[in-house]
């Protein structure tokens, strides 16, 4: 069988380019996620932060509930897209022991953050984040970053960037149901 050498060269070049870009892609995709991956299955680091209404909230205050811990900022447009979903899901699952907790990783003033949250109609507590808390969660190179914590206080899933509402809801159900699954084992 006669093979055109040009075709062979072109195929070799394409495969090489795909390999080079693939390796680059893998290299670049690892550092951004920080150490957050290590948290999966581990107890969610506790923190104590000031809420928008001046109280101090601890993550451990919600022990026994499934928690969606959402790191966001007012300058983050994708974060804004999720907020109405969180509001709806808080309404839908709140009575079943589910809690959304927002952590504003913002340089805006607390009053601006409160104003923003009010305009968005947020129905869940928001605390003012600190970099140290972000570091506890493996560093937050970008927002939104969301951690799903089960009723035992363990991180069962962490998600970076905007995801679909159905994926969020599925993770909430996983966080709410995981205690039941553990109990059955």
């Amino acid at each position: 069988m006669k093979r055109d050498p040009i075709i062979l060269i072109v195929v070799a070049v394409v495969i090489s380019l795909m390999l080079v870009f693939g390796i680059q892609k893998t290299r670049h995709s690892q550092p951004l996620q920080g150490g957050a991956g290590k948290l999966q299955g581990q107890p969610a680091p506790d923190f104590s932060l000031a809420s928008l209404d001046g109280k101090t909230l601890k993550l451990s205050d919600f022990h026994g509930k499934a928690v969606l811990l959402n790191f966001w900022a007012t300058w983050c447009e994708p974060c804004k897209i999720e907020m109405p979903w969180f509001i709806d899901l808080q309404k839908k699952y709140g009575a079943q022991g589910f809690q959304v907790l927002g952590v504003a990783m913002d340089d805006a003033s607390p009053s601006d953050i409160a104003d923003f949250a009010k305009k968005m109609g947020v129905n869940y507590p928001i605390v003012i984040g600190k970099e140290a808390v972000g570091d506890q969660y493996g560093g937050l190179p970008y927002l939104p970053s969301t951690f799903y914590i089960d009723r035992d206080g363990k991180v069962i899933e962490r998600v970076f960037g905007l995801r679909s509402r159905s994926e969020i809801e599925s993770n909430i159900q996983k966080a709410m149901g995981s205690q039941g699954q553990v109990a059955q084992k």
């Binding site: 380019l17 990783m105 970008y142 960037g161």
Partner: protein
Amino acid sequence: MRLGLCALILAGFAAAQDFPPGSRAPSIEYFPPEITTVYRGHAKPVQLQFRIASGFHINSNRPKQEYLKKTELKLDAPTDIAILKVTYPAGEDRSFPFSPDEKLSVYTGDFAVAVSVRPLKTVLPTKYAVHGTLKYQACDNAACYPPKQMPVSFEIKVVKDPNANKRRNPAQSPHAHR
């Protein structure tokens, strides 16, 4: 057959460009201009060129939403070199997959910021460096990155205005005794 190969090449490149959102850090390159010669006492624009990596955008200098961080150039010029004006390009109105119904005013790809500099008439003719920072906040199609500051600098060469003496000495003007 050859058409098929071309399609394969294009598909290969498309796959290579398809980075999952949030999987790589945004990068902005700054291309310092060549040294610009400016006459003492005269204003001259200097174009500062930037390039945003593909797949990312930054807010323009006039974002449509009040909470978004605008792109802003802050310059610290030497004494006697006045920065008269910083002119930003108009943003491109674009919607993104995370909010298809909303238009954002953004910069993507290459953009230039024009800086109008004017050395004072009394400044010593020599080279001067202007330093500053570009403040920006980048996002991709699904995530946003914290606001950043990028160092920026450019040089100008201040020279004497060859017509300055002529203007200063009206006696040399042929119209002086009209």
